[in-house]
């Protein structure tokens, strides 16, 4: 509501005028401001309660579990491992992400593959989400574009520290946000609560 007034930090500490110093007019102004918000919002709530759909919403907040904030496509969310068309992981276990990770949350065990075109593949690929800082360095470091942070999953939780460690099967099974759409993943119950 209203315009945003930008205050230069260097101009912040100014001498208060007499009327500001006696505080009472400023108290009054503050009360008028908050009371106006109160009554305007109350009026809008009332209108919407009686089904006036054209009324503006009385709150500026998202009603979180039901309504979610739109995510930027660039938002770094929970990791996933991309697959090749034949379903095998794109990851070649080059250890770039493990090396670059500032939180040391990635653990890769490599193994050899029979396929002459692929040198190695991950035997296991664990990400400890409890340590991850979501910096996205792993995504940038990956030469194979195998690790991505585009699942759109931000609600991550577990009942134990071990539960926060995602293994390769979980990481491979996560769909990107673009495929999943707005459909919520039943992720918490399936994978993390252990």
């Amino acid at each position: 509501m209203g315009t945003v007034r930008v205050i230069n930090v260097s101009e912040r500490r100014r001498v208060l005028t007499f009327w500001e110093r006696i505080y009472l007019p400023e108290v009054w102004r503050g009360l008028v401001l908050t009371a106006r918000h109160f009554f305007v919002n109350l009026w809008r709530h009332t209108l919407r309660l009686f089904g006036v759909k054209s009324a503006l919403p009385g709150a500026a907040t998202y009603q979180y579990p039901e309504v979610r904030r739109p995510q930027s496509p660039r938002l770094r969310t929970l990791h996933r491992l991309a697959k090749r068309p034949d379903g095998t992981p794109r990851c070649v276990a080059c250890m770039m992400c493990e090396t670059v990770c500032p939180a040391f949350c990635i653990k890769i065990v490599a193994e050899e593959v029979d396929d002459p075109n692929i040198e190695k593949r991950p035997k296991s690929f664990d990400i400890d989400i409890g340590r991850c800082v979501f910096c996205g360095f792993c995504v940038e470091a990956c030469p194979e574009d195998a690790i991505r942070m585009d699942t759109g999953i931000t609600e991550i939780g577990a009942l134990s520290r071990e539960g926060m460690v995602l293994n390769i099967d979980t990481l491979l099974s996560l769909p990107p946000k673009s495929e999943r759409g707005d459909k919520p993943v039943d992720f918490l119950q399936q994978q993390l609560v252990q």
């Binding site: 503050g30 009360l31 109160f38 709150a59």
Partner: protein
């Protein structure tokens, strides 16, 4: 009046005023969350539901109570376990006791007997309230002291300092009111406010003592220990006197805060906004300054008066919430400066000027 009827009337009035205070206090726990939310463009607590009904989060009152009662009652390692348990009781008990002298209506006639709508028509009602509010500080101080915790103690000490500083202004501003209405009885004060100033303005305390009202309101909010005067609690620095309290003992401190808020609203209403008086409403109905009258029977007049009292108290509870969610809190030195260097001299000046005017008019 027969003894039985007297006791019956007293019990009835007591139940009414206690239920009024407790239910409004319970409602205020919801109002606090909801009003702050609406003021801040939020929705506020609305999740508690019974059979799918949410009723704007009103069930949170019940949910909060259930939560408070079922939480672990942790008692710190202190040699004063009894006092530790007693402190919240004192706090809430004396806040409730003060309601005994608040008049919530004029008087009703049952079976030929006139019953004043006030639990106890003490002729030193103002002093009674002061006494009770002063004793209520003991709850806070004892809580801080018996918790065996430095932060709690600091909270208690701060509460003492704040109460002493503001009780002086609190009392001095009422000196003006006492001088104007020439009585210490709250019922008398309310009755005296039924007159008209200049033939049209209700003779409410706020019109006779505008500065007194401002000072009283400030000091009264300081007495309730809520933001902007929440120095004893100081959630961001010392957590305060109730740091070592949990479960319903903590709940009682919280509730005592709300009760005190209602008490302050009742006092402001009684001293400055005509108590149960409805403007232009006399014992026989409305008498408007332009001459027209509306006749009413006594019961209607009395119910209007009780409703008027309840509405005024609710308004001042709302106003206190508005202030609490608008103003930032004071620092301790600012609080002391305000109390001793600004409010005290102003209230003294107010009393002096009022005394001169009262003498001059009376001469």
């Amino acid at each position: 009046m027969s003894a039985g009827m007297e006791i019956g009337a007293a019990v009835g009035k007591t139940i009414f005023i206690v239920m009024f205070a407790l239910s409004l206090g319970g409602l205020l726990t919801w109002v606090e969350r909801k009003q702050s939310a609406v003021m801040q463009d939020r929705i506020g607590a609305n999740r508690a539901s019974i059979l799918g009904f949410r009723v704007w989060g009103l069930f949170h009152i019940i949910a909060d109570a259930v939560k408070m009662f079922t939480k672990e009652d942790f008692v710190p390692d202190t040699p004063h376990k009894f006092i530790h348990a007693l402190a919240p009781v004192l706090s809430i008990f004396f806040a409730l006791l003060s309601f005994a002298v608040i008049p919530f209506g004029s008087s009703i006639v049952i079976a030929g007997q006139s019953i004043g709508l006030q639990v106890a028509d003490v002729n030193v009602g103002i002093l009674f309230i002061f006494a009770m509010m002063s004793v209520a500080v003991y709850g806070v101080v004892l809580a801080g002291w018996s918790s065996n915790n430095n932060y709690s103690l600091l909270g208690g000490v701060r509460a003492t300092a704040q109460m002493i500083s503001y009780e002086i202004t609190f009392g001095l501003t009422l000196v003006g009111v006492i001088m104007i209405f020439q009585t210490l009885s709250l019922q008398e004060i309310v009755r005296a406010q039924g007159g008209l100033l200049f033939g049209f303005l209700p003779m409410w305390g706020v019109f006779l003592q505008p500065l007194g009202f401002l000072l009283f309101m400030t000091a009264a909010i300081a007495e309730t220990k809520r933001i902007p005067f929440d120095i004893p609690e100081g959630e961001s620095e010392i957590i305060g006197f109730f740091l070592e309290y949990s479960s319903m003992k903590f709940g009682m401190f919280m509730f005592a805060d709300f009760i005190e808020q209602i008490l302050v609203a009742s006092m402001v209403t009684t001293f400055f906004f005509g108590g149960w008086q409805v403007p232009y409403l006399g014992d026989g109905g409305f008498v408007f300054p332009w001459g027209s009258t509306i006749d009413m029977n006594t019961w209607l007049v009395e119910s209007l008066r009780v409703i008027s009292f309840v509405l005024k108290v609710s308004f001042f509870c709302w106003l206190q919430m508005l202030i609490r969610w608008t103003l930032p809190r004071f620092r301790f030195d600012q609080l002391m400066n305000l109390g001793w260097k600004i409010l005290l001299p102003l209230s003294l000046a107010n009393a002096l000027v009022t005394a001169i005017i009262v003498l001059w008019i009376g001469r």
